[in-house]
Amino acid sequence: MSYAFDWSSIPRAWPFLADGMAVTAVLLAVGMTLGIAFGTVLAVVRIYAPRPIALLAAGYVNFFRSVPLILTIFWVFFLVPPLLRTVTANPYLSASPIWSALAAFVLAEAAYYCEIVRAGIGSVGPGQMRATQALGLSRIQALRYVIVPQALRNMAPSLANQTVSLLKDTPLVYVVSLTDFLGAAAAIGNRDGRIVELYVFAAVVYLALCSLGTWLADLLQARSRRRMAAQ
């Protein structure tokens, strides 16, 4: 290896990198919370709603699962500003790319979370629903107090894994020139002519964060396996 490393750019660029990391964190946090919330709604609709509405939800999920996230980001990026201008009747309004990116992540991730929640609800036996009905609980009450709490425990490992996938997808906002952590690292690398160091540094940071998430998922998995063994 003939390359001479020089890592000094990284500490000097720290504030800029931290700003990038903040964007990554916002994408992750919003994508996860709203994605899980919307995904849960989709899953409940897919399982319990009347057939035409359930099929609509299924169509939504299959659509977003077959299209690359980058393409979804483009769609939202080009669709949102004119839509906003029409709705607000303000021809000069423009939306910052962060809003488009957030919307794209929530829309797409909800489809993935939906499938996990659906499997989780499916993992709670049909007898449990029957038991709630026999006690006179309404369907909403049954979901809220009996089915979803159990489903959540069963699907916790998958949710953690999906959230790691979400983190791995966040750098894709590069395509709409939104400066997340990878974008910040690339910018510093190009400015200082230290691309190699900055990309390696970014890779190590992502590796550490994702490993943490994977480790958590494995922990949850082991715990749920122990609970199964206790049954």
Binding site: A134, L135, G136, Q141
Partner: protein, 247 residues
């Protein structure tokens, strides 16, 4: 009173209930028996509308179960049900299992619900286990909790769907003892079971089902009297007795 009138049900094109009619009066203990696949459990589930029927009618205390306007939640709160596989909620403690529907359906205060739950747990001999989780209990204990959970709603009727079939033999007795006590207290019960000895002791009425039809509906003396039995029932009871002897 529960009134079944010419109840018919199909799964696809396969008939499962083939015109069942019966009346179950308050204070009676009725045992439904018959070979497996005869439609006993299905009939039981139709009584609290866990399964729909395609023809005929079912009413509980004059309320039409199948009418679209019927408040099913209110009806089901009045008809308690105990399942073969217990169906306790594994993520809730024993006392929370008993309190949940009292609070959410009957709108009882939390403390009142807990008091009622503790009293019932005491009655089934499990007061000491109130804070445990269902999966920490034995099968027999779980089924007694399930009975207490149904009783917590102060039901007028109790439906039992093969309550001892999933239990190890040494635990059957403790569950039957609780049910026997209930019968003596005058609870109206409809029980699907293969425990013929238990039926002989506590039943007032016996209903025998075969291929989706009620082929016998009589007092227990008549049912267990060899002179009055049909060939089919004699064969069934003979098979049951056989099963009891062979390990």
């Amino acid at each position: 009173m529960i009134v079944l009138d010419n109840v018919r049900k199909w799964y696809g094109t396969t008939p499962v209930l083939n015109g069942c009619s019966a009346r179950i009066a308050a204070g009676e203990t009725t045992v439904i028996c018959g070979p497996s696949g005869s439609g006993k459990s299905t009939l039981l589930r139709c009584i609290n509308a866990l399964e729909s029927i395609q023809q005929g009618s079912i009413s509980v205390d004059g309320v039409e179960v199948t009418a679209p306007k019927t408040d099913l939640c209110a009806l089901r709160a009045r008809v308690g049900m105990v399942f073969q596989s217990f169906e306790l909620f594994p993520h809730l403690s024993v006392i929370e299992n008993l309190a949940l529907a009292q609070i959410k359906v009957l709108r009882r205060a939390r403390t009142a619900a807990r008091d009622r739950a503790l009293a019932l747990l005491d009655r089934v001999g499990l007061a000491a286990h109130a804070e445990k989780y269902p999966l920490q209990l034995s099968g027999g204990q779980q089924q007694r909790v399930a009975i207490a959970r149904a009783l917590a709603m102060d039901p007028r009727y109790m439906l039992f769907d093969e309550p001892t079939s999933a239990l190890d033999p040494e635990m059957v007795g403790e569950v039957l003892a609780v049910m026997r006590q209930l019968a003596m207290d005058g609870m109206t019960m409809v029980i699907v079971t293969h425990e013929m000895e238990f039926a002989r002791q506590v039943a007032h009425r016996m209903i025998f089902m075969d291929q989706g039809q009620i082929t016998a509906d009589c007092g227990k003396q008549a049912f267990f009297d060899p002179a009055q039995q049909s060939e089919r029932i004699r064969a069934f009871l003979g098979g049951m007795a056989q099963r009891r002897i062979t390990p």
